[in-house]
Structures are given as C-alpha cells and as structure tokens.
C-alpha cells in the first residue's frame, strides 16, 4: 500500500502550489479563477454556506479520514514542507524521529468549543485567528510576499538602470504591526512545532483538525495494525508525524491521524494497513475524551470578557481630528458591517489581489474581533479604482459578495466629508481642484467661488467613497476632504451625463 503516500504527496502539491502562487503573485497576471481553489477550504465553505463543498468535504472525511489535513489544507502541507526541509538544519539527520504522545484533549476540545460558542454569540475573533487557511494566507502575504517584492525591486532596479524595463518596481505592502506580529508568531510557532512534533499544531490548536478528528473516529477507512504481521519494530511510530501510533499497544489514535500514509511506507512487513473499519467489530480502541465542560466554560468566559474589554478600549481613541475617529471603510460587496465582520477570516487574499493596494489589514478599526480584516486606507495616488471589482470576486468566504462592475460603480462604501474651511482654495485663494479631478462620479465638483476661482462641493448621493479625493487632497497631515465609511453599503445615485454637444465645428477659432 506504499502507493498511497505517493498519491497523497502528488495531490497535496496540486492543491498547495496554486494557492501559494496565487497569494504570492504581485503582477496581477494570474487568472482570478485560481481563487476557486480556496473555496474548497473548510472554514470558507462553512462561512459562505457552500453546501456542495461542505458535502464533498464531509463525505471525504467520513470515507477516508482527515485527508483534508494532509492534502487540501495549505497550512498542513506547509508544515509538511517545513518538516521535510528541516532535515537540512537539524543536527541529527535521522528520519525516524517521532514518538507516540498523548492527545491534548482538554486543549483541543476547549478551543473548538470556544470558537463555536464565540461565533454563535457573534464574535468571529477566534475563527479569524485560528482558521488554518487564513493563517496560511496571513503568513504568505505578510512575510513571503514582501520578501518576493523586495527581490523583484532589486532586480528591477538593476535592469532599469541598464535601460531594460521588462521588470518594474512594485510598491511594497504597507507595514501593519498587528498583522505582521500575528503572522510572525504563527509562522515561528507552527514551524517550530512542525520540526519538533510534526502535526502537533493541527492536533491541538487547529479547530478544523479537531473537528475532523471527531469525524475520523468513525470514518470508513482507517489505519490499523495487522497483528499477525507486526513485529513491533516501532518503525511506523517513528515515522508518524501526528505522533498518534502507539506500537506498544498496537493502537492508532484515529482522531489525530491525518492519513499521510507515512507509516504504510515505513513498514516493511505489512504490519500496518489502511482498511475498512467496519468489517470486524471491536477492533478499535477509542479513548473517551476528558470531561472538560467546566474548563471550556471558564476559558470561553475569559475570552468573551477579554474581547469585550479590548473592544471598549478601542472606543477610547483620542479624538484629535475627526479623520482619525472615522468609521472604517469596508471593501465593496461587504454589504453591512455585521455580515462582513462575521464572515471575513482575514485571509488577506483581497489585500494581495488589490491592484491599487488600497486594501490593508485592519488593526483595531473593527474592534478586537476584526483584526486583519481588510479595510481601505487612502494615501497619495492610492484609492479604490472605479473600474475594478477584484476584491469582491475573489473572496472565498462570501464576506464580500460578488459585485458586478456596473453595480460596483454605484456601491457606496463611504461618503466624502468636505471640510471647506481647511481647503486650499479658501485658505490660500488659489486654484486646486485635485479632489474633483480624481472624482469618477463628479460627486465632488467645482462651483464658482470668487475672482474666477472655483471651490469643491460634495453631492453625497453620488459619492461611492472611492477615496480619490482624499488620496490627492494636498492638505496634510489631515486632508480637507476625507471618506467616512458606511456601516451599511447602499446604492449611490447614478451620475447624470453631461449635455451632448452636437453642433459641427469647422473653424479653428483663431
């Protein structure tokens, strides 16, 4: 049955590479359909209530065990890659280095319980933090992508200075401390665990792993000892990255087995095999999980109280300028803040695909439960492109519902607020009009002021909150015009077209 491991490896590469490359691509040249690969991830499928995918994943798990963990989950495969490559750095380069360990039942079931309870009570904080796919997205987008852009810019610089413009410089993503720190912490702890304890993260912290562990206790196929062939050499146990094989008692903890099939390849005697569970009764030793309801309760209470405190703390922002305390601006398709906050897992896909890089991971703008969820941050020349709906079309969790292009041009994600007393035209009595210049709907337009000068005016019904005006307003540090986010995204009025000019001009006029 050694071929099973090879199939697993091939499949995991096929699932992993497209996701990795899609997240890394900073040129926007990869086809957007690649995001379909992300729809088959557990948490996105659950959040977007994609019943087809949920059905397929459930069927797979009930049939074969946790093959989601070993092939489909990018964070799982990522750990395998780290574990595999760590051979280069480890002192003892032995292959068989794992040992059976007891499951961390209290911890894993508490985490799963806490996530579900918190989510039911309306906070997606832990889902965002612990969804394995989104964790992978954050690690790649916050750590690897910037590195790649940095390398690209180095090459671009040297090529450009020789007159070759086949590469061009790409703006580095904005540094958002919280998002970066989360990515760093997860990367190093997951990497360290992967090197030392294989899939311990998946079997202890990861809620998807824990959930699938429950399913895989009753899966049709499972890994089991063939007692007649086994000589208890322990080779299977030493190769088990889930540390779930106990060769002494000849038992396998199904709930932690990620069906990587390494044991099958390790065993030379056919002492362990992948077989149908239900042909022989009483062959499995399941462990009863510890009763942990009290601990779970305490943990959850703590988490809830903690998040309430932090959400409160967020409201105590100092209010120097109204621009600093404005409501966050959600990407188009977010619909309303409750839907968006509950469904977005902060995977950073839209952030990496935004051609203008106006989307950035939030710090505390959405409160504690919205850390790393995307919001729009405008800066010079960086605003939401009128003819673009990429973010809404790649979102795997349906936090952003697809918005057709014509619809996007009328989706009011925010409204421009003009502070005319700060405006350049008023304060210096000179022409400016940069805001109106950048306004695609002319919600911001110029009206007569004095001495032939014109000053801006905002028609709020027409404004879609793209931030063109704010991005280019020369008044700094706090612009004279800024966008206030809409908690409910409504439809803006369609801009009226200009009167057509249909006379014929056949003279130069000079």
């Amino acid at each position: 049955m050694k071929f099973l491991k090879n199939i697993r490896i091939v499949l995991s590469i096929l699932f992993f590479l497209p996701i990795l490359v899609f997240f890394l691509d900073f040129t926007g040249k990869l086809p957007l359909v690649l995001h379909q690969f992300l729809k088959i991830q557990w948490i996105p499928a659950l959040l977007s209530l994609n019943f087809v995918v949920i059905g397929i994943l459930l069927t797979l798990s009930i049939l074969f065990g946790r093959i989601y963990c070993s092939t489909i989950c990018p964070l799982g495969v990522f750990q395998d890659v780290i574990e595999w490559k760590s051979k280069l750095f480890r002192k003892k380069k032995k292959k068989n280095r794992f040992k059976f360990s007891k499951p961390q039942n209290i911890l894993r079931y508490s985490i799963l319980g806490a996530i579900i309870l918190l989510f039911v009570f309306g906070s997606s904080f832990l889902v965002i933090l612990l969804d394995p796919y989104s964790t992978f997205g954050r690690i790649v987008s916050q750590l690897f992508r910037p590195l790649l852009i940095w390398v690209n810019n180095g090459f671009a610089w040297s090529l450009n200075s020789m007159g070759n413009y086949s590469l061009y410089k790409v703006e580095q993503i904005a540094f958002i401390p919280i998002a970066f720190i989360i990515a760093i912490i997860f990367f190093f702890s997951i990497a360290a665990l992967a090197v030392k304890n294989g899939r311990l993260y998946c079997n202890t912290i990861c809620p998807v792993g824990t959930f699938l562990g429950i399913l895989s206790k009753v899966s049709v196929f499972r890994i089991a000892f063939e007692e007649l062939n086994c000589n208890r050499c322990g080779s299977c146990e030493k190769n088990c990255k889930s540390q779930c094989i106990d060769s002494n008692t000849m038992s396998v903890d199904d709930s932690r087995c990620v069906t990587c099939f390494n044991c099958l390849s390790a065993c030379k005697r056919g002492g362990i095999k992948y077989e149908i569970r239900y042909k022989k009764p009483n062959a499995n030793h399941t462990q009863t999980p510890v009763d942990n309801s009290r601990r779970t309760f305490i943990l959850i209470s703590g988490a809830v109280v903690g998040s309430m405190i932090m959400a409160k703390a967020n409201n105590l922002n100092s209010k120097k300028d109204s621009i600093l305390s404005r409501k966050p601006i959600m990407p188009p398709g977010a619909q309303n803040i409750n839907h968006f906050n509950a469904h977005c897992t902060g995977c950073q896909l839209c952030v990496t695909k935004c051609p203008m890089q106006v989307l950035k991971p939030a710090s505390l703008q959405y409160g504690i439960s919205g850390i790393t969820q995307p919001h729009l941050v405008f800066s010079t020349h960086i605003f939401c492109t009128y003819d673009c709906n990429i973010c809404s079309s790649v979102c795997p969790t349906d936090a952003l519902k697809p918005v057709a292009m014509e619809q996007k041009k009328l989706t009011q994600i925010g409204v421009a607020k003009l502070r005319i007393d700060m405006c350049e035209v008023i304060t210096h009595e000179t022409d400016c009009g940069a805001c109106s210049e950048h306004c695609p709907t002319q919600a911001v337009h110029m009206i007569p002021y004095k001495n032939g000068l014109t000053k801006p005016e905002v028609t709020e019904d027409l404004c879609i909150g793209c931030g063109g005006c704010e991005s280019i307003c020369p008044v700094r540090p706090y612009q004279a015009i800024y966008v206030e986010g809409s908690e409910i995204q409504t439809k803006a009025k369609k801009p009226e077209e200009a009167k057509k000019f249909d006379k014929v001009i056949d003279d130069f006029g000079f």
Binding site: E171, D431, S436, A498
Partner: protein
C-alpha cells in the same frame, strides 16, 4: 570648359534652392535656412490622427527635422487615466503610434513613452490603447510610478517652484515631444500642453499647495523644452474633466495643433475649445503666467500660422 562648369554649378544651386534642403535629409548646417520658411504653428482639421500628423509634420519640415539618426526620443502623452480612447481622457493612441513610427523611420535609436499616471499605471497604459500602439510601432513603454525614476533639476526661472524631480527619460533623451489631449479640467480649468507637464514630475502635491497655475508655468521654464507640442484635438473632453463621466463629455473635432511654443499652442487650443465650451482664457491662469516668464507668446496673430483643412 569654365563657362560650362559655371552653368552646371548654377543649375545645381538652383535645384537645391527649389527643393527644400530637408527633402535631401540635409543636416543642421542648412537648418537656419529652413527655419525661416517654416511656420510657427500648424493647425490641421478634418482628418484621421495619423494623416493629420503626417501632413502637419510635412509643413514643419518633416520628422527628420527634429529627430536625427541614432537619437534617443521620448514622447510624453497624457495617459493619466484608466479610460478607453473614446472617452478622450488620454491622448489618442493612433496619434502616438504614428509618431513613434515616424521617429523610428527617421532613425531614432529608441523611442520611449511614459506618463506619471493618476490611476493605476498598468491599467492606464493598457486601457488607453497607448501601450499596444507604441509596442506595435516599435517604441518602448517605461513606468513612471516610482520616485527612483525621477531626478531633481533646477528651474532657475521658476517663481514658486525652483526645483522639480523630473523623469530620467526626459533628462537623458536627445529630443522629446509633448503630446497632450485637449480637455476641460476641474482644477486647472483646462488641460493642454503645459498642464501635461505635470506628468513628467514626481511630486504634484507641491503644485497644489503652492498655487497650481504658477507651478505649472514654472515647470514650463525647464530649459529642456519639447521639440514640439502636439495638441491632440481629434476628440476633446468638453466637461467633467480631466476624467470625464461618459461619451457625452466628448466632442469630435478631428483637429491637431502643433507648435514648439507652449503658450501659443495652449492659446490656440483654448480658442478652438471655446467654440464648444466658452471659457475665459484668463481663468486658465498658467497661460498668462507662462507668457510673463517668457515661455512663449499669446499673440498668435503675430505668428506664422499654417492652417490646413483636410477632407
């Protein structure tokens, strides 16, 4: 024999005088002669962009008059916006493509085209149709999205702007052409050849903070001025500029105005524009301010203007 030789040389001289020197592709020694016979401004109406450009350049002594063999040429269109050509937010791609082709045919070693765009540069280059036209004609599109492409130059004649960071392509080239599109503009009132210069500089926030019109006029004092300002008025944007909202903002004028003089080109363009949308030229303050800085003249009646109607 002497008399025969004399007649021969006299005949040759006569021939040479009859045909303008540039017809033979003669070089700068004969330039001063040529300049006198050439107009200060050429205005063409009624043709397609490529035909009008070719016709106008013929009046000006042909492209070879400006582009020499081995020259590095830069063309600076308006590619500021992610808009299709029909919306007239950017310079006509056919016009740019033709100019690239002409420069190449005159022996230019390379023809570079760029703009410091307002919208995403990749999308603007592509959707304006200019990237495709330039590449097809053998030119090279160069990015302008990063500060490292710009170098600081002095503007000693500038009033508010004494220094500016200008794209290295312009600084390093042998000759460049400024090819704006004629547009209404919410901020500067109108965008023509001098307003188009904002696309060769890096920091435009400075312009808006220090009297936009004066800064535009100051930029026009940059000593390396374009060989020609080629104002695209094939389609013009009469309202809601500089982006425009729809094709209702666009008027088909099928015109082209060319002059080496910024102020004259903009003045003439304003007169053409005002027939569609009456505009007081004094509101486009940078035109008068530039004249004050001796960048050029608004008195086009004193210039030798060649007007051509094609049909």
């Amino acid at each position: 024999m002497k008399r025969r030789d004399f007649f021969k040389s006299a005949a040759l001289a006569g021939l040479a005088a009859a045909f303008s020197p540039k017809a033979f592709g003669l070089t700068s020694t004969s330039k001063s002669l040529a300049v006198q016979s050439e107009p200060d401004m050429v205005a063409v109406m009624g043709g397609e962009p490529a035909a009008m450009l070719t016709r106008a350049l013929k009046e000006l002594g042909g492209i070879g008059h400006y582009v020499k063999k081995g020259n590095k040429v830069v063309i600076k269109p308006n590619i500021g916006w992610d808009r299709k050509p029909e919306l007239a937010a950017n310079t006509n791609p056919e016009l740019i493509g033709t100019l690239v082709r002409l420069c190449k045919s005159a022996g230019a070693s390379e023809v570079i085209v760029f703009d410091h765009t307002c919208h995403d540069w990749i999308k603007s280059y592509a959707n304006s149709g200019i990237q495709a036209a330039v590449t097809a004609a053998g030119g090279k599109m160069v990015p302008g999205n990063d500060e490292s492409y710009y170098r600081e130059v002095d503007l000693p004649r500038g009033v508010n702007l004494k220094k500016a960071k200008i794209h290295q392509a312009i600084i390093d080239c042998d000759v460049w052409f400024n090819v704006p599109v004629l547009k209404h503009h919410g901020g500067a009132k109108n965008s023509i050849s001098m307003k188009n210069l904002m696309g060769i500089v890096w920091d435009r926030g400075v312009f808006h903070r220090n009297d936009l019109h004066q800064c535009i006029a100051d930029t026009a004092t940059y000593h390396k001025s374009p060989a020609l300002n080629i104002v695209d008025a094939y389609r013009i944007m009469k309202s809601n500029g500089p982006q425009g909202k729809s094709e209702s903002d666009v008027v088909m004028l099928k015109s082209l105005i060319i002059s080496p003089d910024f102020v004259a080109a903009d003045t003439a363009s304003m007169k053409l524009f005002s027939q569609v949308q009456p505009t007081d030229i004094t509101d486009v303050r940078h035109i008068a301010l530039a004249e004050k800085l001796k960048v050029g003249t608004q008195s086009i009646e004193k210039l030798n203007v060649k007007r051509i109607k094609m049909n």
